[in-house]
C-alpha cells in the first residue's frame, strides 16, 4: 500500500514539475506577446473610438476618427498610398523575380555568398542609405552627371513622387527577392526536364511549371513589399516634397508632430491592420507562414 501511495504522490510531483518547466520555458514568450503586442493593439482599437484631446486622446466615445478617415481628403491619401504600394510591389517583383531566378542558376558554392550579399545592406541603417540616395539623385548629383555625359536629358527626381518610389523599391527589393529565391530554389530541376520531356518547348516549361510552383513565393514577396510600403513614412519624408502626404506620414504626424490626434491615427492604423489580416489570410491558403519570415 505504501508503495502505491508514494507512487501516486510522485506522479503528482512529476506533473507539477512538468507544468513549472512549461511555464518557465514558454511563459516568457507568452507573457511578452500578450503584454507588448496584444494589449497595445487593443489600445489602438479602443483609442480609435475615443475623442480627440489636447494630449492626443480624451475619455468618451466618438466616431470622428473613422469619419475623418473616410472623408474625401484622406480618401485621396489612402488611394495614393495604395497606388504607391502597388507600384513598389510591381517593380520589386519585376526586378526581383529574374534576379532570384539568376541566383538559382549560379554555381552551388557561390549561392550562399550571393544570398549574404543581398542581406548585407541591412547592416547599414536604412536612414543613411536613403540619405545617400539624395546625393545621387540631386539635380546636380551623379545620376544627372552620368546622363549628361551620355548626352541625355537630365531629370528632376529629388523631392518628387518618383524619388519616393525609388526609395521604396530600394528599401524593399531584398525583402521581395528572398521569398522568391526560396520558392525557386525548392523546385526540383527534374520537373523542368520532365516538362520538356513531355513536349513543352522554349519558355513553356517556365510558364507551365516554374511560375505556378513559385506562386506562394510571389505572394509572400507581395505581402513583404506591399504592407511595409504603407508604413515607411520616413522614406516619404526624406525623398518626397512634403506637399501631399502618404498614409504613413499622416499617421506619424498624429503622434510625433503637431497634429496630436490619436483617435484619427489609430483609425488609420486599423485600416492597415485589416489590410494586413486580409492579405495574410489569403496567403495562408496557398503558402505556409514559415516561408515568410
Amino acid at each position: 500500500m505504501r508503495g502505491k501511495f508514494s507512487n501516486a504522490g510522485e506522479r503528482i510531483l512529476a506533473a507539477i514539475r512538468k507544468f513549472l518547466a512549461l511555464i518557465v520555458m514558454v511563459g516568457p514568450t507568452g507573457f511578452w506577446l500578450v503584454l507588448f503586442v496584444f494589449v497595445p493593439l487593443v489600445f489602438v482599437v479602443v483609442i480609435s473610438f475615443m475623442q480627440r484631446g489636447d494630449y492626443g486622446v480624451e475619455a468618451g466615445f466618438s466616431l470622428q476618427g473613422y469619419l475623418s478617415v473616410f472623408s474625401a481628403l484622406y480618401g485621396k491619401t489612402i488611394g495614393k498610398s495604395l497606388l504607391l504600394a502597388l507600384e513598389t510591389t510591381a517593380l520589386c517583383l519585376l526586378f526581383g523575380y529574374p534576379f532570384a531566378y539568376c541566383m538559382t542558376k549560379a554555381p552551388k558554392k557561390m549561392v550562399s555568398f550571393l544570398v549574404l550579399l543581398i542581406m548585407m545592406p541591412f547592416w547599414v541603417n536604412s536612414v543613411i542609405r536613403i540619405y545617400a540616395w539624395r546625393t545621387l539623385i540631386n539635380d546636380n548629383g551623379y545620376l544627372n552627371m552620368l546622363l549628361e555625359a551620355l548626352g541625355l536629358n537630365t531629370i528632376h527626381l529629388m523631392r518628387t513622387n518618383g524619388a519616393i518610389l525609388l526609395g521604396m523599391v530600394y528599401e524593399l527589393l531584398p525583402f521581395a527577392v528572398l521569398p522568391l529565391y526560396n520558392s525557386l530554389e525548392k523546385i526540383d530541376p527534374s520537373l523542368l526536364e520532365a516538362a520538356s520531356d513531355l513536349g513543352a518547348k522554349r519558355h513553356r516549361p517556365f510558364l507551365r511549371v516554374v511560375l505556378p510552383l513559385t506562386m506562394p513565393g510571389v505572394f509572400a514577396s507581395t505581402i513583404q513589399t506591399f504592407i511595409p510600403c504603407l508604413g515607411l513614412y520616413y522614406i516619404c519624408n526624406m525623398m518626397g516634397g512634403g506637399t501631399d502626404l502618404y498614409i504613413g506620414q499622416v499617421i506619424e504626424r498624429q503622434f510625433l508632430s503637431e497634429a496630436h490626434n490619436w483617435p484619427f491615427g489609430s483609425a488609420l492604423s486599423i485600416i492597415l491592420i485589416v489590410l494586413t489580416i486580409v492579405m495574410m489570410k489569403q496567403y495562408t491558403r496557398i503558402g505556409s507562414l514559415e516561408d515568410m519570415a
Binding site: K18, A21, L22, V24, M25, V26, P28, T29, G30, W32, L33, F36, V37, P40, F43, V44, G56, V57, F99, K105, S112, F113, L116, L117, I118, M119, M120, F122, W123, N125, I128, R129, A132, T135, L136, N138, N140, G141, Y170, L173, P174, I227, P228, L230, G231, L232, Y234, M238, G248, I251, Q254, F255, L256, W262, S269, L272, I273, L289, M292, A293
Partner: protein, 282 residues
C-alpha cells in the same frame, strides 16, 4: 545526322553562354543598385566639403572629428546598448520558447505559434504607435528601457522561429540516447540539445542584432528625449543635412557589423561543417 547534331549542340552552347552573360550582367546591376548608396556613404566620409553634393577632395578630418561629436557618439552608444540588450533578451526568451514548444504539448500552442507572426506581419508604424500609446497611457517615460522592450518584441519572434526551424530537423532520439546513457534532464539539455540547436541560436541572434541596429520606425515612437539611437539621430539631422562625421561613423559601423556577422557566420559554418550539414547564410 551528325552534322545536325553538332549544329544543335553549338546552338545550345551559344544559348547557354548568352544566358549566362545576360544573367551575370543583370545580377551585377541589381547588386550595384543595392550597394551604390553604401559606396556613397563610404566615399563621402572622406569628402572635404560639408555638403554631401559632390566629392570635392580627400580628407581624414571627419574620422577624427566624429570622436568629438558628443551627441552623435551618444546615439551610437545607445544603439549598441539597445541592440546588445534586446538581442540577449530575445535570444533567451526566444530559445526558451522554441525549446518549450518543442518539448511540450499544451492547449494554446497553435494560438501562440500563430501569434508570433503578428509582430512580424503588422506594419511597423502600427506597432510603433500602439507601443507609444500603451507606454504613455501607463505614464511610462519613454527612453532606453522602452526601446529595448520594443526591440525585443519585434526580434524575439524571429529568434523563436529561427530556433524552432532548427529544432524541427532535430532527432528526438538524441535526447533519449543521452538519458539512456545516464544524463539527467539538465545535462541532456546542456550537453546535447543546446549544442545541437546552437547554429539556429546564433543565426537567430544575428537576425535580432541586424533588425535592432537597422530599426527606425519603432525606435522613433519609443525613444526618449535623452535616449536616441543612431538611426533616429541621423533621421533628425537629415532635415538640416547629415554631417560627414555621421558618414564616417556609419562607415565604421559597416566595418564593425561586417566583421561581427562574417565571423559569426564562420563560427556557425564551422559548426555545421563538422557535423556534415549544409552551410547556411543568415
Amino acid at each position: 545526322m551528325a552534322d545536325i547534331d553538332a549544329k544543335i549542340q553549338a546552338k545550345k552552347r551559344r544559348n547557354r553562354l548568352l544566358f549566362n552573360s545576360a544573367a551575370i550582367t543583370y545580377g551585377s546591376l541589381i547588386y550595384l543598385f543595392l550597394y551604390l548608396p553604401i559606396l556613397i556613404v563610404i566615399l563621402f566620409s572622406f569628402n572635404t566639403s560639408r555638403m554631401n553634393l559632390t566629392f570635392q577632395g580627400f580628407t581624414f578630418d571627419w574620422w577624427g572629428s566624429m570622436f568629438s561629436n558628443r551627441t552623435l557618439l551618444e546615439s551610437f552608444y545607445n544603439s549598441i546598448i539597445v541592440a546588445g540588450a534586446s538581442t540577449i533578451l530575445s535570444v533567451i526568451i526566444g530559445t526558451l520558447g522554441a525549446v518549450g514548444m518543442y518539448k511540450f504539448e499544451f492547449k494554446l500552442k497553435s494560438v501562440l505559434s500563430n501569434s508570433l507572426y503578428i509582430p512580424i506581419a503588422i506594419p511597423e508604424i502600427v506597432f510603433g504607435i500602439s507601443l507609444l500609446m500603451f507606454f504613455s497611457s501607463l505614464h511610462v517615460q519613454t527612453g532606453m528601457v522602452t526601446m529595448i522592450i520594443a526591440h525585443v518584441t519585434f526580434s524575439m519572434p524571429f529568434v523563436l522561429i529561427t530556433v524552432r526551424a532548427r529544432i524541427a530537423g532535430h532527432d528526438r532520439a538524441l535526447e533519449e540516447a543521452a538519458k539512456d546513457l545516464g544524463a539527467g534532464e539538465s545535462h541532456t539539455f546542456f550537453r546535447v540539445t543546446l549544442p545541437c540547436i546552437m547554429p539556429g541560436i546564433i543565426s537567430g541572434g544575428m537576425l535580432a542584432l541586424t533588425l535592432s541596429l537597422d530599426d527606425v520606425i519603432i525606435s522613433a515612437f519609443t525613444n526618449g528625449p535623452d535616449a536616441k539611437t543612431l538611426p533616429i539621430k541621423i533621421l533628425e539631422l537629415s532635415r538640416r543635412g547629415v554631417p560627414p562625421d555621421a558618414y564616417a561613423l556609419s562607415t565604421l559601423m559597416i566595418i564593425g557589423t561586417v566583421v561581427i556577422m562574417l565571423s559569426s557566420q564562420l563560427v556557425q559554418n564551422r559548426m555545421l561543417k563538422k557535423r556534415g550539414e549544409e552551410t547556411v547564410s543568415p
